[in-house]
């Protein structure tokens, strides 16, 4: 075998090479160590503040302590909205050894629907802070809690958490007066003080709950705790107690409210009652209502759609948002305008041939009584609800003066102090028509307005308010729902109260009242049926609002028209006349049988408020109504 040539090794040279390389290595090592040192200097000196803050944020967790929502009472201290402890099932993933087994066991124990489990799985796949309890099921009943307690040892990581939930004991009756709370949505969240609402899940959505949200909610507290990386609280570093929300005492009388709902007896409609002297709203009923408790716990899609698509519009608050033609209910107000403007006197009369004609116009504007009422003065015009008298008056006043005088009573405006979501409705004017239709105002339209038809629309709350102002002889008190916020009384005088209505002659009020009394007590009054055994003096005015307009000289037959196209029945009243304690406006949609229907309900309301010992019998009212429905006594 040939030996390859082997170069000689040279130890001296190798040693030298090694030492040179070692020297180089030392240089590199020092440089790299310098790099590390530089990095450490950057982290620990230059950026120290940043990391210090970050480490504090790691360690210290601020937990919000949500305040307890204020309770809501009626004027007699009856609880209308309370906070009820409910129990939620939560699960801490990090403490559960076998998630599938645990979920299966829970499904068996509590009969949780599959969808909820599936929804939970989807939610739990999203990353979250470790050791945070995740909601599995809300609102456990006692039976479920008991079953969980027995099986506790088999369910590590599963907890039952208490939470206060809003509860409305008489939801269907009260919902349109109270409103309700619901889960805070993204839009609302954007406008909220994030700190104050950090631990709050619910917010007032409508009604008093929304209007007094700030007062009811209170001020959130907070708790600073030190936690470890797994979220376990090690100790408390600081504590600020929450300030609970203020309790709210309403002006509502829950008995009267319930009566109003029962009187409407499932018919679409609204009853609003106000104490004229104080402006306190005693009842604010809109039928049908709905169970607002569903909205607190979270309503399912099917139920919500059911409510939305219901033809009777249960979600719709008729008392404050319903737009109704006022019909003849506004005749006393127009008469007052006529007196104030000097177009009529209490004793001036017209002759009613059964119709009114504009000059140079052949069209006849008819009285509801075809052959006319003959000679009519102010009081009789109100009592028999004579159209011809008011056509004449409206024509004499003209739309501008009507608009001005009627606006003074709050028509076409939001009138209440603290009613959330109230509508303006519509008091028509020349300007409005030009803006809306780009058309001039026609004289014939003034005549329609004169009998409460045409463009004029009002809400039941507006009608009740105007009646209260009338009962007060022109003195304005803003209607309100809150009597006391916490310990603080809501004052009678409120900012932005409209100016009082002054008349040259105080006696004119009495003449109007007298006309309105004759509606009930007079022998030809349109609501004389309710005046039979009246125990106090009551003033009122009936009205029917046409839903379906009739052609000229056409007479309608209620039976031929579909129920939903029948006229609305209206009645507005106050009592007792000498010292009014209650003003009430009633609107029954498609009542058909004429205004008497509404008049009966109004009387039942005043009876209930004024006659303390005699509880009104809704059965009796119902019988009377059944007997009388279909018989037309007036318009």
């Amino acid at each position: 075998m040939r030996r390859r040539r082997q170069p000689l090794k040279n130890p001296e040279q190798e040693l030298h090479a090694f030492r040179m390389r070692s020297l180089l290595a030392v240089l590199v090592v020092v440089c790299l160590t310098g790099l590390l040192g530089g990095r450490l200097f950057y982290l620990q000196v230059v950026q120290h503040e940043v990391y210090s803050t970050r480490s504090e944020k790691n360690r210290v967790r601020v937990e919000p302590l949500p305040p307890t929502r204020g309770l809501i009472y009626d004027r007699h201290g009856v609880l209308l909205a309370e906070n009820r402890p409910t129990y939620n099932l939560t699960l801490v993933r990090e403490r559960v050894a076998d998630l599938d087994a645990t979920l299966t066991l829970l499904v068996d124990l509590l009969e949780i629907p599959e969808e909820e489990i599936e929804a939970f799985r989807v939610r739990s796949r999203q990353r979250q802070r470790p050791f945070q309890p995740a909601l599995l099921m809300s609102d456990l009943d006692e039976d479920q809690i008991a079953r969980l307690a027995v099986n506790r040892h088999r369910l590590p990581g599963v907890e039952v958490e208490a939470q206060l939930l809003r509860y409305y004991p008489d939801a269907e009756t009260m919902v349109h007066a109270l409103g309700y709370v619901g889960r805070i949505n993204a839009e609302e969240l954007a406008g909220l003080d994030a700190g104050n609402y950090a631990g709050t899940h619910f917010i007032g959505k409508t009604g008093v709950e929304r209007f007094y949200e700030d007062e009811l909610h209170g001020q959130a507290g907070l708790r600073k705790v030190e936690t470890n990386a797994r979220g376990r609280v090690l100790r408390e570093l600081g504590h600020t107690d929450p300030v609970p929300g203020k309790d709210l005492t309403l002006t509502l009388d829950s008995e009267l409210q319930r009566l109003a709902v029962e009187l409407l007896d499932g018919r679409r409609g609204s009853i609003v009652a106000i104490a004229p002297e104080s402006g306190e709203i005693l009842a604010l009923a809109s039928v049908p209502g709905f169970d607002s408790n569903q909205f607190v716990t979270g309503i399912d899609v099917a139920s919500y759609r059911g409510l939305q698509e219901d033809l009777d519009l249960p979600l719709y608050n008729r008392a404050i948002r319903g737009h109704y033609p006022p019909g003849s209910t506004i005749k006393p107000f127009l008469a007052l305008a006529g007196l104030a403007e000097g177009k009529i006197t209490p004793n001036s009369t017209i002759r009613d041939p059964g119709y009114f004609q504009l000059p140079n116009d052949s069209r006849r504007y008819r009285n509801w009584l075809r052959w006319g009422h003959g000679r009519v003065d102010l009081e009789r015009a109100i009592a028999v609800s004579n159209n011809t008298y008011f056509y004449t008056l409206a024509h004499d006043l003209g739309i501008d003066r009507i608009h001005e005088n009627m606006s003074a009573f709050g028509f076409g405006q939001r009138v209440a102090h603290d009613v959330q979501g109230e509508s303006d409705a519509l008091m028509p004017s020349r300007d409005w028509k030009r803006g809306r239709f780009n058309q001039p105002w026609y004289p014939g339209e003034t005549l329609s307005v004169g009998i409460g038809q045409g463009y004029w629309q009002l809400t039941p709350l507006q009608l009740a308010t105007a009646t209260a102002v009338l009962a007060n002889r022109g003195e304005w008190v803003k209607p309100r729902l809150a009597q006391r916020i916490g310990q603080e009384e809501v004052p009678v005088e409120l900012p932005d109260t409209p100016p009082d209505i002054m008349l040259e002659n105080e006696g004119w009020w009495d003449r109007i009242f007298s006309g309105m009394e004759k509606v009930i007590s007079g022998h030809e009054g349109t609501a004389r049926r309710i005046g039979k055994d009246l125990e106090y003096r009551m003033a009122g005015k009936s009205g029917t609002a046409q839903v379906f307009s009739l052609g000229k000289d056409q007479k309608y037959n209620a039976d031929e028209i579909q129920e939903r196209l029948r006229d609305h029945a209206l009645f507005t009243a106050f009592a007792p006349v000498e010292a009014p304690q209650i003003a009430v406006a009633v609107i029954v949609e498609n009542a058909g049988g004429g205004s008497t229907h509404a008049a009966h309900l109004a009387k039942a309301m005043t009876d209930a408020w004024l006659l303390e010992d005699e509880a009104p019998d809704t059965e009796e009212v119902r019988e009377v109504l059944e007997r009388e429905d279909g018989r037309v006594t007036g318009n």
Binding site: L8, A17, R19, L40, N58, N228
Partner: protein, 386 residues
């Protein structure tokens, strides 16, 4: 062929005998073949490491005593190895290297799974063993054994052989997968070649080649390894997942400031925000509780150890011993650099412990065994006749 080359006698130039030390009486340290300076600094490091470990382990004394016990075993191993002469070491290098290779293959075939990677070889009830740790020493020694027989600087042919010696174990370890160890093993082998006087032209050439091979490496990385690199580039991209470790460790170090929060006072570590805080991330505890001052003190100590190690290596007479010693000490530095670099966020996360401070028996034993070999090489300088 390799075998015959390794066993044939050396032909060398005659070395001029060193006159120093011949007449000197051998001191106690020389007689037990240990270097007092190096030993002293190592003991200081281990002691300081135990102090940090007590805090990092959540003040569990059991962890500290377990670590101390391992240190004891490792010191015995070190002292034992220090007694071997370089000739013995050289003789044993090839069989140990081959045995190591075989064990790596065994791991690949029926190794134990631990943390998602096959690293352990186990004879149940007797011993659990990581062959890759053995390779950290055996491989550079094998490279040095080969090169010490060749004229230096190494020629192309020698480099090819070295590439095979290095490549076989690295590929096997990388397959486990254990990126940290394979990097350390590669470094150990490469250091030998570099110290042997590899020409600059070649180094440059390799550098360019390595840069070109980067995309290839990327494709062959495991998903979790790729994730680590991505996370390193932007830890905030996944703050609760892969980025968590690095965010928490930089937060710990940064919040420590100049003087630190004090021993046992680090909130990041004591409240368990730091992951793996008593093993790979122990530097973060050190940085948080002892601040920049503590960190620099540790770095200085490491620097002194490396300096002393290189000094000892340079003093070795034989090329084999020199290369082995130099490689061992530079690899030791790589541990420090990679670990501190990754925890402070300038290197991607690679599983490399902080030498003699991180909790863990195997690496301590390997490291001290390395120092044992280093001391053996230094202590057994042949006293040549005049």
């Amino acid at each position: 062929m390799i075998w015959s080359e390794l066993t044939r006698p050396l032909r060398t130039h005659p070395v001029k005998p060193s006159l120093s030390g011949i007449a000197r009486r051998r001191s106690l340290w020389e007689r037990i073949h240990l270097d007092p300076w190096l030993l002293g600094m190592l003991l200081l490091l281990m002691l300081a490491g135990l102090v940090v470990l007590y805090s990092a382990s959540g003040q569990r004394l059991s962890v500290v005593t377990a670590q101390a016990l391992r240190f004891g075993v490792a010191l015995v191993v070190m002292a034992g190895l220090a007694q071997l002469s370089p000739t013995t070491l050289l003789r044993w290098t090839p069989p140990v290297y081959v045995a190591g290779l075989l064990m790596l293959v065994a791991v690949e075939l029926f190794g134990d799974m631990g943390m998602g990677a096959q690293r352990w070889l186990e004879i149940p009830g007797v011993i659990r063993f990581q062959p890759s740790e053995l390779m950290k020493l055996a491989m550079p020694m094998m490279v040095a054994a080969w090169l010490s027989r060749q004229p230096l600087p190494p020629r192309w042919r020698d480099l090819l052989v070295c590439a095979v010696i290095i490549g076989l174990p690295v590929v096997l370890i990388a397959k486990q997968p254990d990126l940290g160890t394979s990097l350390l093993v590669t470094a150990a082998g490469v250091f030998v070649i570099l110290l042997a006087g590899l020409s600059w032209r070649f180094i440059l050439f390799c550098g360019v080649l390595a840069a070109a091979a980067l995309p290839l490496l990327w494709v062959n990385l495991h998903n979790y390894q790729r994730q680590r690199v991505l996370t390193f580039l932007d830890p905030e991209s996944d703050p609760l997942g892969a980025g968590w470790n690095i965010i928490q460790s930089t937060t710990a170090i940064g919040s420590g400031g100049f003087w630190g929060k004090g021993w046992l006072q680090g909130t990041q570590s004591q409240l368990e925000f730091l992951p793996e805080r008593h093993t790979d991330f122990i530097v973060a505890v050190l940085g948080e509780e002892f601040g920049l001052v503590g960190m620099l003190a540790f770095l200085l100590l490491y620097l002194l150890i490396v300096g002393r190690g290189l000094w000892l290596a340079g003093a070795a007479q034989e090329t084999f011993g020199r290369l082995v010693a130099g490689s061992i000490i530079l690899t030791f530095f790589i541990y420090v650099f990679v670990n501190v670099g990754m925890v402070s966020g300038i290197l991607p996360v690679v599983g490399v412990p902080l030498p003699l401070v991180s909790y863990g028996g195997t690496s301590s034993v390997t490291l001290l065994a390395g120092f044992g070999i280093l001391m053996a090489i230094h202590a057994h300088r042949r006293l040549l006749p005049r």
